[in-house]
């Protein structure tokens, strides 16, 4: 937040938080083995001045949430702080004991969780929960606290700020709850707020609103913050400084501009450049091999159409990206094409002839030509089958290849996905997230299909791992001349991989064409909103994006 410095007279100077050589451990209980200690955070030190924002960034398992919660003396699920000092407002809080923790929690330090929907008690009204900490610590009367809360609701641009406190958590949308939780953290006027991935669970167009609201609130209240996220572009918008963590160790710590413009460590550089994949757009060929024509579909007997008159074409060896937010119908399109959800109207033609609507009516050869890869690789593989069986089954099933010949082909496929022969006898549980997804790719390649449908295949992965998967998919496309139908909510991914793009909104295709055309203005209102909502790794992007918007996001 470089711009807060424009008003230095108001920012409180001085050291707020000083964490020295923090060491955090946990005991794990591996089944059938003796319990053992693992170190989650290795001697990490950091300082934070009053009114400043420090972004903690890293992949899963980096220890960023654990460090954030240590500023409140809190260890989640048996996590223990075993070394170092946490000096807050001039005293080591680790020495103050349980009573000391209770006095600082909710008063000096407040917490905003990733899922506000789960973090609010379903049994109480929002207002009661928002003012609870303030009343508990006796910093204001109930009337004052409520007045303060309503003012915060207004500041965070919540609808009906006067009355929203009377509602129960389940009566308010996810994006709004996230803001109410921010108001709850600000209400007791703490010195520090720990934001733990506060926008990660939100749709991209909602995220930008919540992000902007949080940023404004931080600026106006001069509260300091630890902002924890895995998304460097997001943290670049709100932080003064960024700390990069990996496996519980410090990688790099510097000013926001330095980290994103001149990273000094290789790992930071990899995080910064993660979205940069060069992929020249291929021009559509002469004839598509798969055409979706005017498809309309609904679940069950409900008459709510999840797909409305959708038409797209896929060309051999090319990638069609289908982009949209949750509820846009993008995954339903995949189900309609595969026959899992027979369309009510419209047809899917393959190689010039119509495909049977229902999965059960399709011949084996048609099934072979359309393969699918899922978002959650660990539930897409039978945990009781080895990698060899998982990859080998399509070979047996479609081509009747068995025995040594099959093993040879499995080895070749493992080689293609950049995994060695040693993985043949492993079970899915023994693989990392990225390796699991690679095995799923190999399984679909084994069928030698013309089209692979990729349903959010990188969404559950850490950025660097996802990057590797995308590169692999592009390489394989060149080698095997396979087409992809790439379903995603992440526009950055789309830019890296697509040849043509279909933007979906509430069951309809609102924009469709070659990548270069779709991503070139003039835009329709929704595409504009979607494109402008994707965080860019650039300081000041957030303000520009908010200013330039023409349409309010749907689910804030």
């Amino acid at each position: 937040m470089a711009d807060t410095k424009a008003n230095p007279g108001q920012s409180k100077q001085g050291l707020l938080l000083d964490i020295r050589n923090l060491r955090i451990e946990a005991t794990v209980y591996p089944p059938g083995e003796a319990p053992k200690n693992i170190v989650l955070v290795h001697d990490v030190s950091l300082t934070l001045e009053k009114g400043k924002v420090l972004g903690l960034i890293g992949e899963s398992g980096a220890g960023k949430s654990t460090i954030g919660l240590s500023s409140m003396g809190y260890g989640r699920g048996g996590v223990r702080i075993t070394g170092g000092e946490v000096i807050l407002n001039g005293r080591d809080i680790l020495k103050t004991g349980k009573d000391g923790f209770r006095k600082l929690r909710g008063r000096e330090v407040c917490y905003v969780a990733q899922s506000a929907a789960a973090a609010f008690n379903p049994a109480h009204k929002l207002m009661d929960q928002v003012v609870e900490a303030t009343l508990l610590h006796g910093t204001a009367t109930r009337a004052e606290a409520e007045k303060r809360a309503v003012a915060l609701f207004k500041k965070l641009s919540l609808p009906n700020p006067e009355t929203i406190g009377e509602r129960f958590p389940h009566q308010v949308s996810g994006g709004q709850l996230q803001r109410v939780m921010t108001a709850m953290a600000l209400c007791s006027e703490p010195d520090l707020i720990v934001f733990d991935e506060p926008t990660t669970a939100l749709d991209v167009t909602t995220q930008i609103d919540v992000l902007a609201a949080i940023k404004d609130a931080i600026r106006d209240t001069h509260v300091a913050a630890l902002y924890i996220t895995h998304d460097l572009a997001v943290v670049a918008q709100v932080s003064d400084e960024i700390m990069v963590l990996r496996h519980g160790r410090l990688v790099e710590w510097g000013g926001t501009r330095q980290i994103i413009k001149e990273p000094r460590q290789e790992y930071t550089n990899a995080l910064v450049s993660v979205h940069e994949i060069e992929h020249a757009e291929q021009k559509p060929g002469t004839a598509p091999f798969l055409s979706v024509k005017n498809v309309t579909a609904a679940y069950g007997r409900s008459h709510i159409k999840v797909l409305k008159n959708v038409s797209v074409d896929i060309y051999p060896g090319q990638t069609l990206a289908v982009v949209g937010e949750s509820g846009s119908g993008k995954s339903t399109l995949a189900r309609a094409i595969t026959g899992l959800l027979p369309p009510e109207e419209g047809t899917v033609t393959f190689d010039g002839r119509p495909l049977a609507n229902r999965l059960a009516d399709r011949p084996k050869e048609d099934l072979r030509q359309l393969q699918m890869i899922y978002q959650m690789a660990d539930v897409a593989m039978n945990p009781r089958q080895t990698v060899g069986t998982i990859i080998g089954r399509p070979l047996e099933f479609y081509f009747g290849i068995r025995g040594r010949e099959r093993d040879k082909r499995v080895a070749e496929l493992l080689d293609k996905i950049e995994m060695g022969k040693g993985f043949v006898d492993r079970y899915p549980a023994e693989l990392s997230g990225g390796q699991k997804q690679r095995v799923c790719i190999a399984r679909s390649l084994a069928a030698k299909p013309k089209l692979i449908i990729c349903d959010e295949v990188t969404s559950a992965l850490d950025p660097l791992v996802a990057h590797g998967i995308l590169k692999l998919l592009l390489d394989l496309q060149k080698e095997e001349n396979v087409a992809y139908l790439f379903i995603t909510h992440d526009l950055a991914t789309v830019k890296s991989i697509a040849d043509s793009i279909a933007v979906m909104y509430r069951g309809e295709v609102v924009r469709y064409g070659p990548k270069s055309t779709v991503l070139t203005p003039p835009f329709d209102a929704y595409t504009d909103l979607l494109l402008s909502s994707v965080p860019e790794m650039e300081i000041g992007w957030l303000e520009k994006a908010i200013k330039g918007r023409r349409m309010a996001s749907a689910g804030n």
């Binding site: 089944p31 059938g32 595969t338 899992l340 999965l359 399709r362 084996k364 099934l367 072979r368 359309l370 393969q371 699918m372 899922y374 959650m376 539930v379 897409a380 593989m381 039978n382 945990p383 009781r384 089958q385 089954r393 399509p394 099933f397 079970y427 899915p428 549980a429 023994e430 399984r443 069928a447």
Partner: protein, 274 residues
């Protein structure tokens, strides 16, 4: 693969005791010092070197009757469990995979059967049926199969919506592959531990019926029946009835310990769930 040292002590105790009971049941005629119905002394003689557990209400050797009782108890409980398990699992799996009216019909029927406590329904039916081993096994097996049905259906429904099953369907696999290669291997560990619990329940149910005079008929007696035979001694301070009652409790605890361990072990196997 199975290292005895790695078995936790409670499970080890469970295995040893269960094995003892099973051995006693199998080799009853060779182990028992006296015949099952042989009267060898006075009524309710105390424990002695000649009769380790004393004698029963008719002057029969209690130890011998306990050993024969193990045979009857285990025999009926095993058969009833086998029946309830195969019936419940087959119907439960098929209901989950085929769905539709077949599933609805079976599930409603099971709901109905389970809305009456098993013991009450058992008593109602036994009030008109002839009392013999076949009826007993059928009644116990069928009534208890409702619980196995619920569990297997729930487990199979959970697995049936997993992406890997969808992937198999998309590949074009038939229902044979889907049931036996995709669903069954993943359903085994919850089912195996349920097998132990169902067996315990069968033992307890049988004992209760016999205790109420509706199970195994004299002169044969399972342990529950022996409690009934000797219960009148209690008020005179004669503990003969407590011995078969304690045996039932011990068998149930042993099997419980083994079932607990099996459940923990199988879920931590390679490729376990999660």
């Amino acid at each position: 693969m199975l290292d005895i040292k790695r078995i936790p002590i409670p499970a080890l105790i469970g295995i040893v005791l269960t094995a003892l009971f099973v051995l006693a049941a199998i080799f009853a005629p060779w182990i028992a010092p006296h015949g099952n119905a042989e009267i060898i002394g006075d009524v309710w003689e105390p424990m002695s070197a000649a009769h380790w557990l004393g004698t029963d209400n008719l002057g029969r050797d209690l130890l011998s009757r306990m050993i024969y009782g193990a045979r009857i108890t285990l025999f009926i409980a095993v058969l009833a469990t086998a029946l309830s398990f195969s019936l419940g699992a087959i119907l439960g799996f098929s209901a989950a995979v085929f769905g539709g009216w077949y599933d609805t019909l079976l599930s409603r029927l099971v709901d109905l059967l389970m809305s009456i406590p098993t013991l009450i329904m058992g008593l109602v039916v036994l009030s008109v049926l002839p009392t013999n081993l076949v009826t007993l096994i059928l009644v116990m097996g069928i009534l208890d199969s409702t619980r196995v049905y619920r569990l297997s259906r729930a487990v199979a429904v959970d697995i049936n919506v997993m992406d890997y099953v969808e992937a198999a369907k998309l590949r074009g696999e038939g229902s044979g592959w889907i049931i036996f290669r995709e669903i069954l291997p993943n359903a085994l560990s919850p089912l195996v531990s349920e097998l132990g619990l169902r067996f315990i329940y069968a033992v307890l149910f049988l004992s209760t019926l016999s205790f109420l005079g509706l199970g195994v008929q004299p002169p044969d007696a399972d342990w529950g029946g022996m409690v009934k035979e000797n219960k009148d001694g209690i008020v005179f301070g004669i503990g003969a009835a407590l011995i078969p009652a304690a045996a039932i409790a011990m068998l149930a605890i042993s099997v419980n310990l083994v079932a607990d361990w099996v459940l923990n072990r199988t879920t931590s196997l390679k490729g376990g769930r999660g």
